[in-house]
Amino acid sequence: MKVAADVAGRLVEAIGAKRVVAAEEELATYAIDGLVPSAIVRPASVEEVAEVVRLAVKDKLAVVPVGARSKCELGMAPQQYDIAIDMTGLRGIAHYDAGDLTLSVDAGIPLRELEIYLKEKGQFLPLAVPCFESATAGGTIASGIDSALRLQYGSPRDFLIGAEFVDGTGQLCRSGGRVVKNVTGYDLHKLLIGSLGTIGVITRVNFRTFPLPTTFGGHLAGFANSREALEYRSAVEKAGLPVANLEVLSPSVAGMIRAILQKSEEPLPPELERADWSVYSSFEGNEEVVRRIALDLDTIAREACSAQSRILQPAEDEALGGMLRECFEWLRWASPANVICRLVLPEIKTGFLTGLLQLAESVAPRSALLVRAAGIVYFAVFAEENDEVAIASLAKAVSRVNALARAGNGHTTLLRAPTAIKSQAGEMAGEHIDRGMQLRVKQAFDPAGVFVPGRIVGGI
């Protein structure tokens, strides 16, 4: 406790008592993988952020920048965690040129607030990420989590056009700019995406915004098995239909969605009642485009022997789309202990999906599988107890998933695991990463190692 008081005291000296919190019950809510910080700071300016980082460098303290703290469990457990820099107080809109479709905002602004703001001008940001209600713009970039709309709009690397951040020497740096096309200097802002706070405290992010479509549509097709579902998915891709997302849901995922929607009394597509494989797509544009895509999907689904194919009602589409955006959130709370892996594969084959489900069966009674765009598969294995035996079986599952992904020329990232096995399982999943190359970036940005040591696989 003496150390804790000391850290808080030094922070108070540096930026004033109003910005520093050291109350135990509040510190506990900032814990990451069981590690509790000694102090929380809530800076009111970028200068204060820089001040805190410089202090941390001088006193060899470890800093973790946080936003809404909805995805702090991504990444490995920090090796040291002294100060949480809570960025939610910096939430201004620095610049918005609606006519140019460019936006520059402080890191702490919630995505929901941005959505409302942009909607007034008929625009939006294609960041459909989990915990959307609370997630901040800066935290979303740092987390690197997938947007459900990435099939059509790409990942943030395609629309983040610049950023400002405090580097590991406590200096405010910028990269990119506020224009949609720019090759001036190194694209350092791209390195912030998925950096989990390890190379800088993001203070501002600049985006290209997108016109809000006038009409939305959704379609759901059910199949007797995963082979037919994948054949349909492939046929949709080949048809060149511009769908915003195209997700294959295992029967258990459909079941979980059904249970949640029923409980919250939201519109439930009856197709999810049947325990088979489902493929959901959403699409947008003008009325004619939406109608055309819906009809084409229906035709393709029927040709692919879909047991049931239906164009969704707007309310059903909204409910289902919202569920898929939030999938990481409800998967992680689905059982007392679980692992969630994100696999990236060159090609998704039926045999592979079957293999995943079989290996899950051998260690735990329940699993869930969701195929997203760009060769991404979310795979969760659920243990019904949070005891040693259950956790050991989850570790076994990760090991096998990893082996399977490697055999399919893909790779795995561990999104969630019980703390006890996280480090071992995470390192295993991350064995494909070129540690030396990653380390060069880390050391250039953070020469003193002030930002969340150990957070990136490989002890980076």
């Binding site: 006519g99 140019d100 479709l101 460019t102 625009q123 790409g154 690397r157 395609d158 020497t169 200096q171 405010l172 740096c173 990269s175 700019g177 506020r178 224009v179 949609v180 096309k181 720019n182 090759v183 001036t184 200097g185 190194y186 694209d187 350092l188 791209k190 390195l191 998925g194 950096s195 190379i199 016109p211 809000l212 060149g240 239909l241 511009p242 544009g285 003008n286 004619e288 485009v289 055309r292 990236v344 594969l345 090609e347 760009a374 060769g375 893909g410 790779h411 990232t413 991350g430 990463i433 070129d434 190359m437 990653q438 060069r440 970036v441 050391q443 250039a444 940005f445 696989v457 980076i460």
Partner: protein
């Protein structure tokens, strides 16, 4: 250059893959820019292993190395500013693998941009970034400069279409970054290396993403009496939320020069034209073309033509793509600038450019990617007239400064290279330079790879060691 290095290089690669005579080297001292820098030795590797060995050998002799594709760059990125060994990738030009099903291809760096599309178009696919030099520029150079092109407005630039790279680091180590599919775990190194202008590593293999050809394309030519009306139309098209696949502007003066050469059907008496393209589903394209035409008419377009067929479409594009060649007919040399501004500032930017040109006694042409605010003012000059050249460079510097003042940036697609390194201070602070320098040094600690680029030489913290001769050519 030490004779023993030349000897060793010849024994490593074979004499046919090494140039060391002055008359041969002379051909490699230029690129598409107004800069110059002659290498002491030019080598042509065939494999990644050879590239690694070349780099190691040059390192032993403490001689700098610079990579080069087709030399079509416009910022001096592929020039040997400090002399040394130039690695020309022209003979590493194989397409290694194509996966039509999953839409990617693995290619060597010397593959010509357009050849990727040619190799996959039978399957209804193409490589989206299309610089004007697509017929000759190489993918390795595109990666180094993060090249753009007219069709990057909706589709994105090179970095959005490259998923993995094989690289040779300045110490000869061979590494891979990115992931052939999906995305890689850890920091986005592929995103860092694309556009790093050959200052961090040499690219020896590129995995590109292939796009699916759209179902329908419509090409429009909107003809305006004044350039002000044309730029207002661009502002309004952008603000209306329509993203055309391409939105190019040619001012009246330039289009007359082009028309005399290409006979594309551009109206010689107009103030400016917009060449617009929309693509996608038939249902989307119809509506978008109609909406664009309506905006143009609202902005006082004299006429909006719709290309009737592929032949008409090709002709309109031929005019645009041959513009720089056409300009060669009216002046001994031209200096193509590359600035970028917020699109809402387009009318003001063109006004400033005109005023600056006038003050220096130049008629500045404009032929550019209006849709993404990427300006290409062209200053025509005679390089034999030293004063004129000096003025051209001074005018260029003022125009770029004006872009930055309007909230823009130094370069939209040509790169910083040795053309704009001294202007970097307009955008970046000492802290920015310090970080960029640390990133540079993390991969290229001795500045042995492509020295004298990107970073200002005049600034203390941005200092870069040039081991051999001093830079030649114009410095902005």
């Amino acid at each position: 250059m030490r004779p023993s290095l030349i000897r060793e290089m010849k024994s490593l690669l074979g004499a046919v893959n090494v140039l060391d005579k002055q008359e041969d080297l002379l051909l490699y001292e230029f690129d598409g820019s107004v800069e110059k820098g002659r290498p002491d030795l030019v080598v042509f590797p065939h494999t990644t292993a050879e590239v690694s060995q070349i780099v190691k050998l040059a390192g032993r002799y403490e001689v700098p190395v610079v990579g080069r594709g087709a030399g079509t760059g416009l910022s001096g990125g592929a020039l040997a500013r400090g002399g040394g060994v130039m690695i020309v990738f022209a003979r590493m030009n194989k397409i290694i693998e194509i996966d039509v099903e999953n839409r990617w291809a693995v290619v060597q760096p010397g593959v010509v941009n357009l050849d990727i599309t040619r190799a996959v178009e039978h399957a209804g696919l193409y490589f989206a970034p299309d610089p004007s030099s697509a017929k000759s520029c190489t993918i390795g150079g595109n990666v180094a400069e993060n090249a753009g092109g007219p069709h990057t407005l909706a589709c994105g630039v090179t970095t959005n279409h490259v998923s993995a790279l094989e690289l040779v680091l300045p110490d000869g180590e061979i590494v891979r970054v990115g992931s052939k599919h999906g995305d890689a775990a850890g920091y986005d190194l592929c995103g860092l290396f694309v556009g790093s202008e050959g200052t961090l590593a040499l690219v020896t293999e590129v995995t590109v993403k292939l796009a699916r050809k759209p179902e329908a394309v419509k090409t429009l030519l909107a003809i305006f009496e004044t350039i002000e009306d044309a730029s207002q139309a661009v502002v309004e098209i952008t603000a209306s939320g329509i993203t055309p696949a391409a939105c190019e502007m040619l001012d009246g003066w330039t289009l007359r020069v082009v028309e005399d050469y290409v006979h594309a059907g551009y109206p010689r008496d107009s103030g400016a034209v917009l060449l617009l393209e929309v693509e996608g589903l038939r249902e989307a394209v119809e509506g978008q073309a109609a909406a664009i035409a309506a905006v143009c008419r609202k902005c006082r377009a004299r006429e909006v033509r719709l290309a009737k067929d592929d032949h008409e479409r090709d002709l309109l594009w031929k005019g645009r793509k041959s513009a720089f060649g056409a300009l060669g007919r009216v002046a001994p040399s031209n200096y193509v600038l590359d600035g970028v501004i917020p699109r809402s500032k387009l009318p003001q930017a063109l006004e400033r450019i005109k005023e600056i040109g006038k003050r220096y006694g130049f008629n500045v042409g404009n032929i550019f990617h209006a849709g993404d605010g990427n300006l290409h003012p062209i200053v025509l000059y005679d390089p034999r007239d030293a004063k004129q050249f000096e003025n051209a460079v001074a005018a260029a510097r003022e125009i770029i400064r004006a872009c930055v003042e309007m909230g823009g940036a130094l370069t939209g697609e040509h790169g910083v290279g040795m053309e704009k390194n001294e202007l970097m201070g307009l955008l970046f602070s000492d802290a920015d330079f310090a970080l960029m320098r640390r990133v540079h040094d993390a991969f290229n600690p001795d500045s042995s790879l492509n020295p004298g680029k990107i970073f200002p030489l005049s600034k203390g913290c941005g200092e870069i060691r040039i081991k051999k001769k001093e830079a030649v050519g114009a410095k902005l």
